[in-house]
Symmetry: C2
Subunit: 331 residues, 2 copies
Amino acid sequence: MADVARLAGVSSQTVSRVSTGHPGVVESTRQQVLAAMRQLGYRPNSAARALKRGEFRTLGVILFTLATTGNSRTVEAIAGYAAKEGYAITLIPVAAPTQDGVLGAFSRLGELAVDGIIVIMEVHLLDAANLNLPPGVQVVVVDSDAGDRYPVVDTDQADGARQAVRHLLELGHETVWHVTGPAESFASERRTQAWRRTLLEAGRAVPPVQRGDWTADSGYRAGLALAAEPECTAVFAANDQMALGLLRAFHERGRTVPGDVSIVGFDDIPDSSSFIPPLTTVHQDFAEVGRRCVQGLLRQIRNEPEGPGTVLVPTRMVVRASTAPPGSRRG
Amino acid sequence: MADVARLAGVSSQTVSRVSTGHPGVVESTRQQVLAAMRQLGYRPNSAARALKRGEFRTLGVILFTLATTGNSRTVEAIAGYAAKEGYAITLIPVAAPTQDGVLGAFSRLGELAVDGIIVIMEVHLLDAANLNLPPGVQVVVVDSDAGDRYPVVDTDQADGARQAVRHLLELGHETVWHVTGPAESFASERRTQAWRRTLLEAGRAVPPVQRGDWTADSGYRAGLALAAEPECTAVFAANDQMALGLLRAFHERGRTVPGDVSIVGFDDIPDSSSFIPPLTTVHQDFAEVGRRCVQGLLRQIRNEPEGPGTVLVPTRMVVRASTAPPGSRRG
DNA sequence: CTCCCGGATGTTTGCGTTAACATCACGCTC
DNA sequence: GAGCGTGATGTTAACGCAAACATCCGGGAG
């Protein structure tokens, strides 16, 4: 910076004013400084800037994996909105969804240059890690029920599941079977609860739950079990990938979809419109979730406190070709 | 830090020594300092640290989207290995795959606190953005052919495509049709080149290319066109999602897979084993790509220069149920 | 007993930036 | 024409930390 100042024949403070876009610099001076910057390849040192300002303009995102559609899409949206607000995103991967893994991530966190953190995981794992968040670092949580302790942003899992079940009931199915996700996922639990409640409210029987782990393979295994239940005519899968597995299992067992069995998924991943048949599913607005996360976190950082509470992003049914009235097998 | 020093009854330098793990601090003193740190919730200011050390311990990853399996898996691997080396990852999303978008990302880059950058995109887009990388910032590129200017790490696209085509030829197919990805993708172009060359080397006819855009939908449209070609018995899709679309198109047109038509994909996404039928595909080792990226970049940062050059990560065929000899339709 | 040496700890300084204050020149008013 | 205000620019200091150097202490050699 001193070099730039010297070359431009001004003081370093004037260089600073130019590079931060402060007013009160005459145009001719400004151009000289800009020229000197270019010539010397000057680039402000963000560490020094952060040191002086006391903030990093960076948000941390802590999560287990980018392998699920939901996580990667949410992170992408977060990164986009954060960039728009002048914030960068630092990824903090947790090695494994265990206490040790979380602990490791949070110890690294202490060293990190972030102004706030978005946590994408069930919050009881944080508790297990006897969460001592660095003071001054704000938090927003996704996929959790910690609405009484931290601000939470999430898809309206319950309403989404309710819509899925209602859709199947309205088509005339007696009841709806369910393939759930892993027990440690809050989203999965919420969807299962809502499925059960919706059936109960409609006075229907609640069939036993098939447990999966989000993967298509686990959906396939669940589908094999379900195909052996002759009275199973409608299934609500907790995500699209497990629905894909169901589709294959029913196909292999000669149970046509939607003729013999109707299937609804959750997420509306891009591929789901190309399943065989195209999948009826519950659309999640990951971009909106990301946006609300960043918005909430920045509001905290800027000291416009909101306190704990939950923001629910609505879902909507996307009806494609995997659902039909029961017993509508063609031919 | 001064507060901690006061509370522990030592100088701030001793606190610094403790927090950086320097030797030459007697155990009893160390414990006192540690206790004071805990009591005050002290956390070293990484901006100041970075300022003093002249490095940020952060790597930037610049890419268009996390929506493709390859990108998100690669980023995940990068983040994991970087963490292991004590580096954090900053995500730099590019709004759109246009010159403007890239330009915007690189202007933001100037402000960013990174020691090196991993670029996941075709490098000619960088050129378009008249790339003036901040001096002192190292670069590694993925999905590009810039091996003469930057170090490049990539999947061995050509060999993967060759394996796919050979597999189909060895099953007895006369030739292999191809659904390619978007023209601006280097990976896609490489796969297409290798497909063509392999056919030529085997003295086979080279059918016209169907162009897709990586999405299952585009694969579906290509599949519709291909289903109308009676002599088409084998298709190599440039990724698994387009293969999924092909599967649906052929299914809807009553062309059985693999009885009437064999299909090979590329990527080996987790879902591909649950397609109908389970997909034969080329497995990419994204984790290895990520590891090599980080390794190469850190080597540059640590001044163990390697210069430009290309690291190719091998692929392997995963044979499932979507390929068979031609005309093997059951029944 | 003195001197010296080495290990433990303290003091000083500067990393690059910007806020706050100081200065300076110019033009306007009375 | 003296005084004053305004806007442009310069000077100083501090952000938190750690490298370099300074100091202090105790113990062993002579």
